[in-house]
Symmetry: C2
Subunit: 396 residues, 2 copies
């Protein structure tokens, strides 16, 4: 068969293969980016299934409009006020998880060899979506204030106009960034908006962890700072409801939303209708707010446990982030340790993580690793970190 | 914003806009391609939601693998034997409806200006998916034996080798074709396989209506006749379970399935896990087979009612198909009538359909219309057809 050119540039997700290894119950896994299964409100979900079939009869089972059911879009638009994001249902599209947003935005923006500006490291699923459309990358490092926007500014300024016009998108994860857990400072967010405005490059603000803050105060979203309609905002129900329902949403200018809708018609016709009714009921009944309180408490404890254990068991020469929210800690080891090579040894020691290079499009990240605390069994966090610490010690 | 080139070629689905007009309860709609809401097994679905949460605990709520849950893939592979399609779970991927198959297959095969061979008329959603990747079209007419494969053969033979290599896919809907309801003969199916083999062009066999036969005997699927692994088969739960669950599946060679899986990772991570467990329970409990019996009876009656009413109320000079299954009748009116222009008058007469040109990529179809019988209220079919017949009579 003769494949499309883009198919040659697609790469299988590395995490996916790792997750298979991590399925062994004897292994303490800090690898996946999963919410804790313990947290899912099963009984509530069971009751809600009955309720929506009673209240809405056959509507949750039939086809629906491409943008998403009106009820949920109205409910979500209202909820977004909490984050000071003004929008109407016309700005809002419900998608198959926020992964589908990454795909659809790429689909309507990216020509082969167009450029996406990404952080190093960044979310692996984002890299996959952009690559599916043969993107190239412009990279910016991250420090404790998040994306180094001055790097972006410098690189864009030094580019010729023609090349700069190929930069179609800036991809940012400002809150509890995946994989580092770092928060982007208000100053940097403002700077990013300025850059976006100057060069007319839209920002895709990926915000899955905004509700998972364990300490400190919220920083306004980039979308909230946006006066020009240059920010496409996306978030997801995967962390605050259940990822198995595959529900995310995006907010953009109406004109942009209409283009996404046309692309979405040929992509999946419409998003799961049944689960949209569930999500609407989940928010409106107040169950979501309760659930968020519950998982915040749960994950904060796990995060604190992991940080304590790292303080205790990781040797000198290692450093790591101390996130105020989200699901991940990013650890950087002494330069002589290659975390990708060490991975199979870690599996033998019955512990695992994702190696840093998987998140870096510029070939860096070889001495780093991402540790997930949300899905780890609280009682096993210390043991897992101890195993990992011992393995690292044996290498230096 | 600077959009991708492909975005300029995307077209909003015309049916979608029509469906909005048809929402008025006073209008008898033969427009949508919807299964009858009356048919949905609501109580069964409610009970199954409870059961899967009991049997599988949190698994239906968590992330799952990209290809689909193992349980459902094994169950489906087994069920496909009924249609004499041999496959293992490795050949089978569960998707967001079969629309997502059309998208993913296009994604990995179609470069801009590549060619897809399609029937005229053909499924509108197929056209949308291919166009999203900037395809061009090679067209074949349909007669009472389905796709005119000799037309395809002639056109391919007359093409230069270089142009022929741009033909990446043949798209076929052999059973109860949408929009015409026509069945492709065994002879034509065999001929199509031969052409596919000779020129190494894969066939995408779209088979949503295979379970909706009301009379006559099944013809072997094209996939069943395929010895070379050139057929990609797709079907859906939308007509036999509930379209709101957005579940379809595809069957292909393992190597092809792996490439689809990589593309799917960046597209949507995985298909709705909860609904996959529901679908598995639905098949295994025997509820699906019962449901199929029920809707066959229901839709056969509606189809017969519609055909009777057309015999009675449509004037001379009109002709139409007499399908043995599926959901649609295709009517062709005298040449002086443009069905697209007549549409708004039909709405005034409180009846509607989809105009034929919407399904034709070659600019034909202006005197035809698609009539859906499955979603029409049985008691109103005659009245609707009478209104339409009177309108047509007033035009000739």
């Amino acid at each position: 068969m003769r494949f499309a050119d883009r198919t040659n540039e697609m790469k299988a997700s590395e995490i996916r293969e790792l997750l298979k290894l991590a399925e062994d119950k004897k292994i303490i896994s800090f690898a996946g980016g999963l919410p804790s299964s313990d947290s899912f409100p099963i009984k509530k979900i069971d009751r809600m299934c009955t309720k929506i079939l009673k209240d809405y009869d056959t509507a949750p089972l039939q086809y629906g409009i491409t943008e998403g059911i009106t009820e949920l879009r109205v409910t979500l638009a209202k909820r977004m006020k909490k984050f000071r994001i003004k929008c109407k249902k016309e700005n809002l599209i419900v998608t198959n998880g926020s992964q589908a947003v990454l795909d659809l935005v790429s689909k309507i923006l990216i020509n082969p060899k167009d450029i996406v500006a990404v952080e190093v490291p960044t979310y692996l699923g984002g890299i996959c979506s952009f690559r599916n459309y043969q993107s190239r990358f412009l990279t910016m490092k991250i420090d404790s204030n998040g994306m180094k926007t001055h790097e972006l500014e410098d690189k864009l300024r030094k580019m010729g106009k023609k090349k700069r016009e190929k930069v179609k998108l800036i991809y940012a994860i400002p809150n509890f960034h995946n994989p580092t857990g770092v928060d982007m400072s208000l100053e940097r967010r403002k700077h990013l908006i300025e850059i976006s405005k100057r060069y007319h490059i839209p920002i895709l603000e990926d915000d899955p962890y905004v509700e998972l803050r364990y300490s400190g105060k919220d920083t306004p979203s980039i979308k909230n700072l946006d006066k020009e309609g240059l920010v496409i905002y996306t978030s997801t129900f995967s962390k605050i409801f259940a990822p198995g329902f595959r529900l995310g949403w995006m907010i953009s200018e109406e004109k942009f939303a209409r283009k996404i809708t046309v692309a979405k018609q040929g992509t999946d016709l419409c998003t799961n209708i049944f689960c949209q009714y569930l999500a609407n009921e989940y928010i409106k009944s107040g169950a979501m707010d309760k659930q968020i309180q519950k998982i915040r408490k749960m994950y904060r404890k796990k995060k604190d446990k992991m940080l304590e254990a790292m303080d205790k068991h990781f040797p000198e020469g290692c450093k790591w982030t101390r996130p105020k929210g989200g699901m991940f800690i990013w650890a950087t080891l002494p330069k002589k340790i290659d975390t990708e090579k060490m991975f199979h040894e870690a599996i033998k020691h019955r512990v695992c993580y994702v190696h840093g290079a998987a998140f870096c499009v510029d070939g860096s990240g070889h001495h780093s690793m991402r540790l997930n605390f949300s899905n780890a069994d609280e009682d096993k966090i210390e043991l897992g970190i101890k195993r990992l610490g011992n393995l690292i010690k044996s290498k230096i």
